[in-house]
Symmetry: C2
Subunit: 403 residues, 2 copies
């Protein structure tokens, strides 16, 4: 075969240049032309190019005094699946200072019935995929991501260290931990870590039938921890992995998960930026659009010794406070300790409540339990301590009468 | 200058080929390796590659009888901003048959505090950007997108035609219209179209202070339309464009908007797939985590003549039904016509309710009104007809007592 002539080679070069131009254009098209640059200071200016204008407007609307403070906070999100990924995205779009993401799972096409991940990310680790998307959405947020299971010994110690030292200011604790995991073991690990560290955290969950969910605010020593009354949270002790092996999977809906993530981040914002009332427990029953709220005291016989220690510390702090009953009452907005309605939440949730809330109990494989249903074995020894108070019932009724 | 030698040219070719390979690899990296292909039939198989496994599990969980039916439905989403885009994404991920999207706005960086759009899409029309993302998420969904303002005469007629003929089966009506717009005029246009066509639709909205929202189900002739009692919905008659010109903008939060979108799509799913109870009105007060529900009858003196005609048609249909009071009661799950609590929603929402629900009323620019607050001018003539019934109050109370 004759070697190519100069003209032929130049033709090839022309063709390759054309192809290269096309590929580069494709990339431009995929990426779009506008790239979001970092912004040093949040501005209230009402221009199309300001990604913070609608958030800073919360100040003019009289909702938040100091929105810019959002940049000082650091939040750990454990589990970036259906609820956690949307939670992280909301916080990112709100301009949170720093996010620490923990997960050991990979993105799969089977996750596409929930928001956030896209098919082209299948195969990537969830934290890696999430970080990439979130950085593009808001490069002002600082990220730390850990692609590991927090429940193994080594990882657990590292996890504890990051909670203790992962704040926005170097070597200070994070401001909140958000549990968005899908199994009992991981919830217990978060609970153990937070009890030991005295770290406030939010628990969240959705039921296996996809039509209910909840968030719960845990302040060690002050409110019930996950070990004080686990069954109210998510009762199943089996995780997704086990279920999949058996050819069974929990149902899920993007709606329920987005509502739970919305409730979670809304209460995080209320807590961090001091507006409205933070809910200690907020449930979502999608079948009936019913939203139970409550507050539970910690269990004085809790199995977790760090919980007991936090309870003592809390009581000591309370006792040390100056005795100004009246002032305290108005300052602490959401504390009602009376139980006028004699509500005992855990012991009664078994049959009637579960049925009313979930519809008929489906035929489930072993290990799959409807959330909010209490396993019989633990039913007895919990009735004596859970002194639940339906917080908003009075407000709710007076508001309804006013309507 | 000497002309290049063959060796030099071949070197150039080598370099270009290398560059081309790199660019192609970049595209692969951006796009990822897995591409979601179309799926002819929904399967329940529990494998990582099945995007419908978690939805089909709703059948095994006893929640939905026939999930596959979702593919037969066509839904029009009007307005693909903060609420509409998330609404469209949820429906897409749920595998809805067909989506018709209407909007005339462009993506801006100022939208980045809400979910869905990404910075690189700034400058694209919202419907174009949305369609591209949604097709990638789920290529099984059919799309029709219209980049126009539905309130101009020509567009309005075309819009009506698409509602009337845009169903999954050619030339049948859509199954639902979802209003996710941010201004009064567009809501009135949707209301007018749906009253004329007898088309059921959901209204949705969030307040300008970003901390409350609602959804409302309108069945022409059966429930209150937007013209029957507009102030309960969103009172401002000024749209975003006007506000921006004045250097003012409404506040918004990704949390509130995702919760409203979640409520909206959840109730759409309940309505289409026959599970749970559809809410006629569901409010979200984020400051207090309070969720008012109610049902309103249409106004017999409504300004919209098509609403009056639909009311007559509805009454004729009701009268023609066989008189089986008892059976009907159990079939129509959510009809309670007693007003034991003498609740009159519209007339009383002005001061106390708005204050309780919204906190102190902020200092607002002219034209910006807190949602749920009734303009004084319309206060009198509405008290005589709005016979609102707090739907779930009995259920709520009995459930609370049971707890």
């Amino acid at each position: 075969m004759a070697s190519p002539t100069v003209a032929e080679l130049q033709q090839t070069i022309e063709k390759l240049r054309e192809e290269l131009k096309n590929e580069k254009q494709k990339i431009e098209e995929i990426k779009g032309t506008t790239k979001r640059t970092r912004i040093t200071q949040m501005s209230s200016e009402v221009v199309d190019s300001n990604p913070y204008s609608r958030l800073m407007a919360l100040k003019r609307m009289g909702i938040v005094d100091d929105y810019e403070k959002i940049r000082d906070f650091s939040i750990a999100v454990v589990g970036v699946g259906g609820v956690g990924s949307v939670t992280a995205e909301m916080l990112t779009r709100c301009g949170i200072g720093k996010l620490l993401l923990f997960d050991y799972d990979k993105v799969e096409l089977a996750n596409m019935n929930r928001l956030f991940y896209q098919p082209h990310q299948a195969g990537l680790s969830k934290v890696e995929a999430a970080e990439k998307t979130l950085r593009e959405i808001n490069p002002d947020v600082e990220f730390e991501v850990y692609n590991y299971n927090i429940t193994t010994m080594d990882n657990f110690n590292h996890f504890m260290d990051r909670i203790r030292l992962g704040g926005k200011v170097k070597d200070t604790p994070v401001d909140l931990v958000l549990s968005c995991v899908d199994n009992f073991e991981a919830r217990m690990a978060i609970n153990t870590a937070c009890n030991e560290l005295g770290q406030s955290w939010f628990e969240s969950g959705v039921s296996e039938n996809a039509v209910s969910g909840h968030i719960q605010f845990v302040i060690p020593g002050d409110t019930s921890c996950f070990a004080c009354a686990p069954p109210l949270v998510v009762a199943t002790q089996t995780d997704e992995k086990t279920l999949k092996r058996e050819g069974v999977c929990a149902a899920s809906l993007p709606t329920t998960m987005a509502v739970v993530a919305g409730f979670l981040v809304q209460n995080v914002l209320k807590y961090l930026l001091h507006f409205g009332q933070v809910s200690y427990y907020l449930g979502y029953n999608a079948l009936q659009d019913f939203f139970p709220t409550m507050r539970m005291k910690p269990n004085p016989h809790c199995d977790d010794t760090h919980c007991l220690r936090q309870q003592r510390l809390f009581q000591e702090r309370e006792a040390a406070k100056p005795k100004q009953e009246f002032t305290e009452e108005t300052e602490e907005e959401v504390v009602h300790d009376e139980n006028e309605w004699k509500i005992e939440l855990v012991s009664e949730t078994t049959e009637d409540e579960a049925k009313a809330a979930e519809g008929d109990k489906p035929q489930l494989t072993e290990g799959v339990t409807v959330a909010y249903t209490k396993p019989a074995a633990q039913a007895e020894d919990s009735t004596d301590f859970v002194n639940a108070t339906e917080m908003s019932i009075d407000d709710l009724m007076s508001q309804m009468k006013q309507l």
